[in-house]
Every structure is written in C-alpha cells, then in structure tokens.
C-alpha cells in the first residue's frame, strides 16, 4: 500500500525589501519525519521539499547572517504556524520572510589602553519588563589580532557588551602586577644586597615583597566592572553598529580568609559559593578572572582568592551526597536523589572587599528548619480517593534579588502518607514555589500557610521555618473555552491570553496569567484557572516573556473580554476578530 507523499514548496524573502533570499536552508520538522528535511533556496529564493508524509510540520528558514524565521511567525523568535499535510496534497506558495541580522563591531583595549586581541566579547540582550530586566546572551566574538571584534546575526534590541579574557586565567596562583615604583624598589633592594660584603650571607636580608595582585573581571561597555553601570547599545533591525570602543579594567584582587563553624561543633562536608552583588549577567567567563574559593576539609578554613572590590555574600550548606539517598518512588517516577539522612546545615555571611585582604570571616552553620503540612481534599470534591498516599510535594527554590535567599539549585521533594501528611525535614531558608504531582484528574486549588495562599506568590521559609502548609486539592475543574474566529473563519494565527483582573496577582510566574493558541478549528481551552474575574484577549503576536510584564497586560485590557470563572464550571466565551 503506497502512502501518498506531498511536496512542500514556496519562497523565502527578505523582510527589508521583499527580495528573494537565495541559499537559505529551509527545514521542515514534525512527527513522521525522523530527521528534519531540508532544501536550499535557488537564486529566486524558491524551495521544494519532496516526500513529506501526512502530519503537522513547522517550516523554518535559516541562513548565516540572517535571523532564523518560521513560516507564519510575525518576526524572528516567535512561533510559527504549523502547516498541515493531509492525504498527500501538495502545499505550495508558502512565503517565509527573513530579517537580516544586525551587527555590533568595534575595538577592545587592555587595561593599558592598547588594542587587546583575543578577548571575548559577548552581546547580552536586555529586555525591559516592568518587573525588571531580563538578560540573554545572543552573540559572542573573539577580538582579532588588531583588537577588533564583530558580533553579528543579532536581533534588534538593547545590548550590554561584556568583555572577558578568552582564556581562563587562574589555577597557577596570583598574578603580580607591580608598578614602576615597586619594580624600582625591588631592584634597589637587590643592588643593596649585591654590594654587601658577603653575598653568601645575604640570606639574612629581608625578602623581597610580593607584588600587588590583580584580578581581571568581566568589564562592561563603556568600561565598567559593575554591570549596573553598563551603558546599553540600542541596535535596530538590520543595523551595523560600528566603532564601539572600550576596554577591560584591572581590579586589585584581595584574598579573603575565614573559617566555617557550626552551632553543634561538627562541620560536615559542605558546598560553598560566593555571590557578587548587583545583577549577574550570563557572561561565559564571568568568573574566569573573578573569585575562586578553596576550602580545607580538615581545618574548615576557607580562602577566597582573586576577589575584586565589591560586596559579597558567601553561603554554604551541607553537601548532598548522590547515591546516599533513600529511594523514594512516586507515580511520577524516581525523585532526584537527596541525602535526607542527616540534618542539613546552612549558613551565610556578607562582607565587603575594597582592594585589601580580609581575614577572620566566620561562617556559622545552623540546622535548617523543617517544613510540614497536609494534603486535604476539597469539600466540594466529586469523588475523593481512598488514600492520599504517594502524592509528591516539592519546594522549588525561586531565584531572588534578596541576598538572604538560598543558593540552592534543585527542588526538595517528599511524598505524602495515607492521611495526606508530609514533612520536609530540612529546608534552607529562602523563597520557594510550591509544586505538586497529584493523582490523575486532580489539581492543586490552594496552598495555605499562615492564612495566605502561597500559590499566588512564594513561600518564604525563615530560620524558624513556616506555619504548617495546607494543600487543598480538587477534582472539579474551572476553565474557559470557546472558538476564535475572524470573518474568514478560524483565527489560527492568533494567540489567546487569559489573565486575572486582580493586578496584585500579575507577578510571574502566575497561575492566573495563561496563554494558548487555538486549534485549526479555532477552538481553544484554558483549564484549571482559579475562580475569579478574568480578562480574555486575542492577539496576533505574543512573546511569552511579556506575560511577566504588568505593563503589557495593562495594554491588553481595552480590547479584552471580561469573564468570570466559577468554581468547578466551564465558562464559554467565543471571540470574533474584526467586523
């Protein structure tokens, strides 16, 4: 039985001038194709991809120097519209528009002002959300032998440029950076020693001083070490910004010494980390010229070398020993291994460095508090389960600008007993999001701690822990659904956003701010929205990150429908675009 195969064809055009883009690679991907299937556009920008089976496929075009583009996407980086291949019918005349990437070019200099070949220049795009800036590294270049760099293939936007040593230094100990006066003084000392009557006896002469050490931290345009002082470079679409000229800085590097102690006296194996103040940017070599922490597990003394001036926080916690964890299984599968056998100790200390060495820092470890609670069945539940055993409860650390937040990277998880009780024996103080894996058909309605529903925010665990958590689960689902149409039929190219009218709850990630795309029929559905007043808006283009931005949500309200979500009910709301 032969399966009918289709041909997919079309043309790639330049968004700037509508001209064909030749030599673009057009690739279709989707279920039914083991590997993406590609074609190269000809001199008229045309492509033909044969032997495509039935299915829904994403069609994307790429070409070095251009921004990757998907068929149906309003611009680069946005999701495209999948094409449907049915019954082997050919899909023709697809048009994909590509935007030529922008470039940032210039010269980087060393601390002495000379062109600095070999430095790594990174372009970090900053997106401004009203909740704060978001940073993403989009390009890297190595300065050539003239110190010149060129980062290209960038989308339009605001960029911070960071320059770091391309080769990671360190590992050999400190680097001396003596001044001319220091060198003169050393040579003078040697001359005095040489003229002494008995050179062999010169071992009594005072040793030469160690030179001033330096660190080579990441430097940001226009030449600042603190990213908060960086000046952004705004680049338009298909723009080549040239003549960006800036340099690295040497920072006097201090050594910080201290000791880890614990309230109980015993110091277990710990992991220890240092965090600088200010925003942390995704710079590859960010720590290359920065601090390096070493710790002696016998004496519990630590030494941090290569510390540029600034405010720092050092935090420590018991090392999780992989493979030494009790095996806990739940319906969701194996849990990340974690040593729950002993108490988790943690501690943090803050300090300032301004060029000179710091010693005598004490980091005290204390026992982390427990967090306990109970999973309860909602009073209105339709079909309560016989046992509550085996549900998974996790606390997911939330990154926070608060320096008191913990430095944990992985969630802590436990499972409930038959009566729904759970206990996480040691939780390092900090901010967490509550997450659960519940029996099929159930959803987490509320998570009350101290009278507050922490599902709309974060659970802040203090040194003494938190009031017991009450997790309310329900099998009655609230949702909104309908169809989205235009005069021409289903509005498949649109996005839908359902968001609460309570502006206080517009922080991200929020379970009350959700988006979806309609199916090809125009039908859409957003389920498990907590009851309340909502707006429902349709829009042509959506960057998921914008959902975190209150100003963006505010801008949707004038064209949005007001809806009410009721407990356990499906609200139907059809939307029609245009007249």
């Amino acid at each position: 039985m032969a399966i009918a195969l289709a041909t997919v064809s079309g043309q790639v055009r330049d968004a700037a001038n509508g001209q064909p883009v030749r030599r673009a690679i057009v690739t279709i991907t989707g279920a039914g194709l083991l590997n993406g299937r590609s074609a190269v556009t000809d001199d008229d920008g045309r492509f033909v991809i044969g032997d495509v089976p039935d299915g829904d496929f994403v069609v994307e075009a790429s070409r070095p120097g251009f921004l990757k583009a998907a068929y149906g996407a309003s611009r680069s980086g946005r999701p495209g519209t999948p094409i449907a291949v049915r019954g082997g019918a050919n899909v023709t005349d697809l048009t994909i528009t590509m935007t030529h990437g922008s470039a940032i070019a210039g010269l980087v200099r060393d601390a002495g002002g000379d062109p600095a070949p070999g430095l790594r220049v990174e372009a970090i795009r900053i997106q401004h959300l009203s909740t704060g800036d978001r940073a993403e590294k989009l390009g890297t270049a190595i300065a050539d032998d003239r110190g010149e760099f060129r980062v290209f293939g960038l989308p339009a936007g605001d960029y911070i440029l960071a320059v770091t040593p391309a080769v990671i230094v360190g590992g050999l100990g400190g680097v001396g950076a003596p001044s001319e006066a220091e060198v003169d003084a050393k040579l003078q000392a040697l001359r005095a020693r040489s003229s002494a009557p008995q050179p062999g006896a010169s071992s009594s002469a005072p040793p030469l001083p160690t030179s001033t050490a330096f660190a080579n931290p990441a430097t940001f345009y226009p030449g600042v070490v603190n990213p908060a002082e960086a000046v952004m470079i705004t680049v338009g679409a298909n723009e080549s910004r040239e003549g960006i000229d800036f340099g690295t800085r040497l920072s006097h590097a201090a050594t910080v010494d201290g000791t880890v102690v614990s309230a109980s006296g015993a110091v277990p194996q710990i992991q220890i980390g240092i965090h600088g103040n200010g925003p942390q940017l995704p710079v590859a070599g960010g720590s290359a010229g920065g601090p390096s922490v070493r710790m002696d597990n016998q004496t519990h003394a630590f030494r941090i070398t290569n510390v540029p001036s600034g405010h720092y926080r050092l935090d420590a916690r018991t090392l999780n020993v992989p493979g030494n964890a009790p095996q806990i299984m739940a319906s969701g599968g194996a849990l990340p291994k974690q040593d729950l056998s002993g108490p988790v100790l943690w501690g943090a200390v803050e300090f300032d460095v301004s060029g000179s060495d710091v010693s005598g820092i004490t980091l005290t470890l204390v026992t982390a508090p427990a967090v306990s609670g109970r999973l309860v069945i909602d009073r209105a539940a339709v079909k309560p389960p016989a046992s509550l055993a085996g549900a998974r409860v996790s606390l997911v650390p939330v990154p926070s600008a608060d320096p008191r937040s913990n430095g944990l990277e992985s969630p802590i998880t436990t499972i409930t007993t038959a009566d729904g009780a759970f206990r996480l024996p040691t939780v390092v103080p900090g901010s967490y999001r509550v997450s659960t894996v519940l029996p099929s058909g159930w959803w987490l309605r509320e998570a009350i701690s101290g009278g507050v529903d922490v599902l709309d925010g974060t659970l802040t665990v203090g040194a003494d822990g938190v009031p017991d958590l009450s997790l309310n689960m329900s099998d009655r689902h609230s949702s909104v659904g309908g169809t989205l149409t235009t005069a021409g039929g289903p509005a498949t190219e649109y996005f839908l956003v359902a968001f609460t009218s309570d502006r206080a709850l517009w922080r991200a990630p929020s379970r009350r701010v959700r988006s979806t795309r309609p199916a090809t029929s125009g039908a859409f559905d957003v389920s498990d929205l907590p009851p309340g007043e909502y707006f429902l808006a349709a829009l042509r283009d959506l960057d998921i990150a914008d959902l975190e931005d209150p100003a963006f949500l505010e801008s949707l309200i004038p064209a949005a429908a007001s809806i009410t979500i009721l407990e356990g009910q499906r609200t139907v709301q059809d939307l029609r675009i245009g007249g």
């Binding site: 690679i25 190269v40 978001r134 890297t140 190595i142 050393k186 062999g200 430095g407």
Partner: protein
C-alpha cells in the same frame, strides 16, 4: 525552564563543590619550586622587531620538571617592560615564558618567533646570585585575511577557512592543519597568530551522506548522551536533503548550492587562489608581523556523481564504520578535509552523495590520526556524523616535528582491526557497484621486562608510531597497560601494513626504554616492518632506570650568540629519518648562563654533539643539516647508567 534559568538575573557567579584543597606542607616536603632562597632574576620583555620594551606582558617563571615557582610565578611587566623575581632558591633549571595579547608566546632564550620553546633557554642560580639581564624577546604574529564569495559574487557567511602548512615530521614532508576560522556577515575572514612561514589557505567542503534511518543526534554530529549543557553550543544548522529514499545529504555545515533536479551540485574544497587540488595551491608567505590581506577565495558549484557499493568481507564488523573520500595529498589532515563521507549500513552497502569528479582514496578505519600545528583559534570543524569518540582519544605535542607540531587522534567505538583503503577515480557518471574489500589489521603480543637497579615503573602503555609519520597508519596502542605488579603482557591491535617504531607511554624519568626485541631481533633503533600483514609475537620491551646522560660546558664567547643550544643526534645516518613522532635519539637542550648543559635521559649509543646558536636548534629535522653538522661535531658514546662529559665550542652550520 532551563532557558528561563539561564536568562535570570540572579545567579551565583561561582558555586564550588569542595573535596579538599590547600594542603599545608612540612618544611622537608616543600618541593624545590616552592622553597625560598636568596637568588633573584630580573630583566625586560622587548619586541623582537622594534627592540622596544613591552609593558603589561605576563611573565611566567618555572622550573623544569616542577612547574610554577613560588606563590606568584606570574608577573605583569611594568611600564618599562621590566620584571623582578626575588627570594629564589639555588637551581639550574629556571625557565621563563611570556604571554602578551597580540604577540606570539615568547620564551626566554628564543631568538626567532616560534610557537613553542625552541631554544630551551634556562637560567642557573647559586645562592645569593642575581641574574639581572634576562631579556626576553617576543614577536608580533602575521595574519592572513580575505573574503569568500560564491559564483554570483555574493559574500559567503559562516564559511570555514583554514590554513595548512607543509612540515617535516619524522624526516618526511607532511601537511598539517593550522588555525581555522569562519567568515563574518560580510564574508570576511582573518587568520591571525601566524609565525613566519608558508601557508596554504583553503575553504573546506565535505559532502556528508548518512542512511535515512540515522538518528537526528548522529546527524548533528553529537554523541548520544551529550547533555547539551555546554556554555557555547556548536553553531550547527544541520538539515538533510533527501536525495533518494534511503540516503540523506547532511547540509548546513558547509555552503551548499541548491539541488537542481537530476543534476546535484556541490562546492568542492577550494584552495587559494582557485584550485581544488592542494598540489596546485599557491602558498602565502608570512615573513614577520605583517598582514596579507586580499587572499580571496571564490567557490563555484560543480556537477557531482554518486558513488555507491558494498564492503566485502566481515560486513558485521564494518557496520556503522565511517568511510571517507580523501583527495590527493590530504591524508594527514583531520575531519573536515574529506571530499565526502558516509556510513556503512548493516547490510554492507554504502553511498557517497554529491562527489565532485577527481581522484580519491577511499578510507575506512576506526582509528584516526592527524597532524596539526599549534593553533590560536578555538574554531573546530563539525564532527563527522557517526564518528563516535571511543577510548583513547589523544592530543599531544611531538618532538619529531617542528616546534608546535601536534598529533591528535582517536579510536572510534567498534572493531579497530577492520579497515579498508583503495583508490577511487570519480568522473562524470555515477559509480554504482564499487566493491570495497575489508582487510584485517595485524596484532602484536609481548611483555615488558625490567633491567634496572631500583623499583620498576608503574603501568605503561605500549604504542606504535608510524616510522615516517604517515598518519593513515594510525598510532595503535595496547588496550590495557602492562604492569610489573599485575600483568606484564600487552596486546596491540589495529596494525596496518607499513613501518612503525615502538614506544612506551607513561614512562617518564627516571625510567627509560632500553630495548625492543622481536623473536630475539633488535628493533630499538630501526622500524618494525609490518607490510606482510603478519601478527607479531614474542615482543620483549625492556625498561631500565640506569639512564644515560651527557653533560659538559660550552665555551661562551662574548662576541658569539647570546643564547646557545646543544644538539645530540645519532652517528648512524640511517637513523636520521624514520624515527616516528618521539625522535628519542635526538635531543636539544639549552645552555645555561653558566655555560653548562645537560642532556638527561638519552638512550645508550653513539652520538654526535654540537653547540649552536639557539636560533638554529630546530634545524636537526633536515638530514642535510645533520650531514653538515656531523663534519664538525664531537662524538660521544654513552652506555646505560653512564654519564659522559664533553666540552664544546660553538659551531656555525651552513
């Protein structure tokens, strides 16, 4: 979620897991390089061309066999290019290196720019001595720049451009890969960091075919199990052209012309100024710190043919093996130098797609070995789909080539004893029924023996280096290490027909390889002939700790060269070629400021000995130089456990 975390502003800049560090050493255990004393070294870093001081250069002070000296082994030079090291213990093994962005790395004693320490310059200090004239010269490198355009004159963006160099390895001429880069959004490329020499510029283009059933990860050239957590993921954009129902052409790594129905085209590898044959390429000469701009390359599509066939022999053992079509003269180069690659299917069939017309060698092997010269760039060629890195990947510098020469290679997963190699001539038409006979590599069995005074060495690996540096022979080595404590036997598989020299890996001072015998015949000083394809047994590899050395003093003349080297080479002229990568009977050493030299750990035998200007010390690879040097050299015969002494005068060799 991963992406969100990476974009978050708040991240720890460092989070180290600690298992123990800064060990406090008692005084008697302090290594020499960490002791303090009363010696001092001071000097200046200067530009070798302008002779002006270089400020902000990073000077590194080390001790041979110890590493960094003191707690601050690295210093930046001051505004006058000066540096001072004090509190140094008495020792005669100090050396210094210099790094400065925009310069070739420098070494104390170098008198010409070199990628690695040419002169082995060293400094000797006695207690209280101040060596106050350590002048270190560094040189600016050259650069080659240009534009890559296609047949319509449009710039080609993201194209690989690399340099190749002809070098002498093991006494024979070979091609080695140098730095690699990619063109920018204007089609421009720039290859900096070049030492003086002749360079071939090329734009590689590999037509990579895979069976249609190949998993996507393999097509991407990724290793299954790779986490993808690298900070800088490879900039790949692999798609695949389905040219028929059973084969895919992987595209995206190299410029690809559109596939016109019935007449597939490809861009062949292109050498400057416009040839696809390395023999016709024009070298670009770099003489100093100059830039040769305008080295432009135009790529043009050519019609191609399909080459398909089947392997004959142990088909199961060859399944999944990478096959390569290698152009003439490109045998020594690594991934990215092929005209086309493909994979052997389980049924033994294979198909190369889009092969430009030409004469090729069809190579199938799970062992690979390549030559390169030290490169400053971090750009790498995309890995060949299906080429999984197996055990025994290696990269290392070799003494048997010019300074900076490296060999790299790996043994892919699978049977290393199956291989194939035969010439294939591709014309205008497809080749449909090529029979590729599979051959079996031979093997070698033996054991290690100990003829020493002290404690025998720990486990060592036995390896075979191609005597003439022919990399297609590979560098087969024993799978398990031979050990005197455990099993002193070794087995080496994957030996191809040719000539090898046997060496021991992991055998450092105070140990030396003393002899190699096969069935009682000596192969220490001559290559092992493997052309008959027979297996070898009864190989005895003997180690000793009774090492031989040659020392002495060189009469230093105030008018003579400021830096001197001493060179020892065998008196047996037949040993001047075919010595493999290790070249263990050729030794150069620096003459210290007190005139003393020491060649430590040289095999017993008869040697010529000369003292020359350090700038001449790399010329020993040229047999003509050795012929001239032998006329004026002192000779010395040294036995195991002996130390011979000769005082030398400086020679000037034509």
């Amino acid at each position: 979620m991963v992406a969100m975390a990476a974009m978050s502003f708040v991240r720890p800049i460092l989070f180290a897991t600690l298992t123990g560090a800064f060990v406090t050493l008692s005084a008697q255990n302090v290594p020499l390089s960490r002791q303090t004393g009363t010696g001092a070294i001071s000097g200046v870093v200067i530009d070798g061309d302008t002779k002006r001081p270089v400020a902000g250069a990073e000077v590194y002070l080390g001790m041979a066999n110890y590493g960094p000296v003191g707690t601050q082994s690295r210093q930046l030079t001051d505004a006058k290019g000066r540096f001072v090291y004090g509190n140094l213990p008495a020792a005669d093994i100090y050396f210094m290196n210099v790094k400065k962005a925009g310069y070739i790395n420098g070494h104390y004693g170098d008198r010409a720019p070199s990628a690695s320490n040419l002169s082995n310059g060293r400094i000797a200090l006695v207690d209280g001595q101040w060596f106050d004239h350590a002048t270190i010269m560094i040189w600016r490198p050259g650069a080659i720049a240009g534009t890559v355009t296609d047949e319509r004159g449009e710039p080609v963006v993201g194209a690989y451009v690399g340099v190749l160099q002809r070098i002498a390895v093991a006494g024979a001429t070979h091609l080695a890969a140098g730095p690699l880069t990619t063109t920018d959004d204007r089609g421009r490329y720039r290859l900096p960091g070049l030492t003086p020499g002749s360079y071939l510029i090329h734009v590689p283009s590999v037509q990579t075919a895979v069976p249609a059933s190949t998993p996507a990860m393999t097509v991407e050239g990724l290793t299954p199990g790779a986490t993808g957590r690298d900070e800088e993921p490879p900039r790949r954009n692999n798609g695949a052209l389905a040219l028929d129902g059973t084969n895919l052409l992987v595209i995206g790594n190299y410029a690809t012309p559109p596939s016109t129905a019935g007449a597939p085209q490809a861009y062949p590898m292109m050498f400057y100024p416009g040839t696809s044959l390395v023999a016709n390429a024009t070298a670009v000469d770099i003489t100093g710190g100059d830039t040769r701009d305008g080295i432009d390359v135009t790529i043009r599509p050519v019609p191609t043919a399909r080459v398909s066939g089947r392997v004959v022999g142990d088909v199961a053992a060859a399944s999944g093996m990478v096959l390569r079509l290698v152009g003439p003269g490109l045998d020594d180069l690594a991934t990215g130098s092929e005209a086309a690659t493909t994979l052997v299917r389980a049924d033994g069939q294979f198909t190369f797609l889009n092969v430009p017309a030409g004469d090729y060698t069809l190579v199938g092997s799970r062992a690979s070995l390549h030559l390169s010269v030290e490169r400053s760039s971090s750009t790498e060629m995309p890995r060949t789909p299906g080429e999984l890195p197996g055990p025994g990947s290696f990269l290392g510098g070799i003494p048997g080539g010019p300074p900076g020469t490296r060999v790299s290679g790996s043994h892919a997963a699978g049977d290393v004893n199956v291989w194939a190699r035969q010439p294939v001539s591709v014309g205008a038409g497809d080749i449909t029924d090529l029979a590729l006979p599979l051959r079996r590599a031979s093997s070698m069995r033996g054991h290690i023996a100990w003829e020493g005074a002290g404690v025998p060495p720990g486990p060592t690996a036995i390896l075979l280096e191609p005597a003439d540096g022919n990399t297609w022979l590979g560098m087969p080595q024993s799978a398990a290490r031979a050990s005197f404590d455990d099993d002193d036997h070794f087995i080496i598989n994957g030996i191809l027909p040719g000539a090898y020299v046997l060496r021991a890996a992991g055998l450092g001072p105070p140990y030396a390889l003393k002899s190699v015998t096969i069935g009682g015949r000596d192969y220490f000083a001559r290559p092992i002939d493997t052309t008959t394809g027979q297996d070898f047994g009864e190989v005895v590899v003997t180690y000793t700790d009774r090492i031989a050395s040659i020392g002495g003093a060189v009469a230093i003349s105030p008018d003579g060269p400021s830096m001197l080297s001493v060179l020892a080479f065998p008196t047996d002229r037949t040993a001047w070629t075919g010595y493999g990568f290790s070249a263990h009977r050729f030794k150069t050493t620096g003459v210290a400021n007190d005139g003393q030299f020491l060649i430590d750990n040289i095999p017993a035998g008869s040697y010529f000995l000369i003292a020359v200007d350090a700038a001449e010390s790399a010329r020993w690879q040229d047999p003509a130089f050795l012929t001239e040097a032998a006329k004026v050299a002192a000779s010395v015969t040294v036995g195991w456990g002996e130390k011979q002494s000769r005082d030398l005068k400086v020679s000037v060799i034509k």
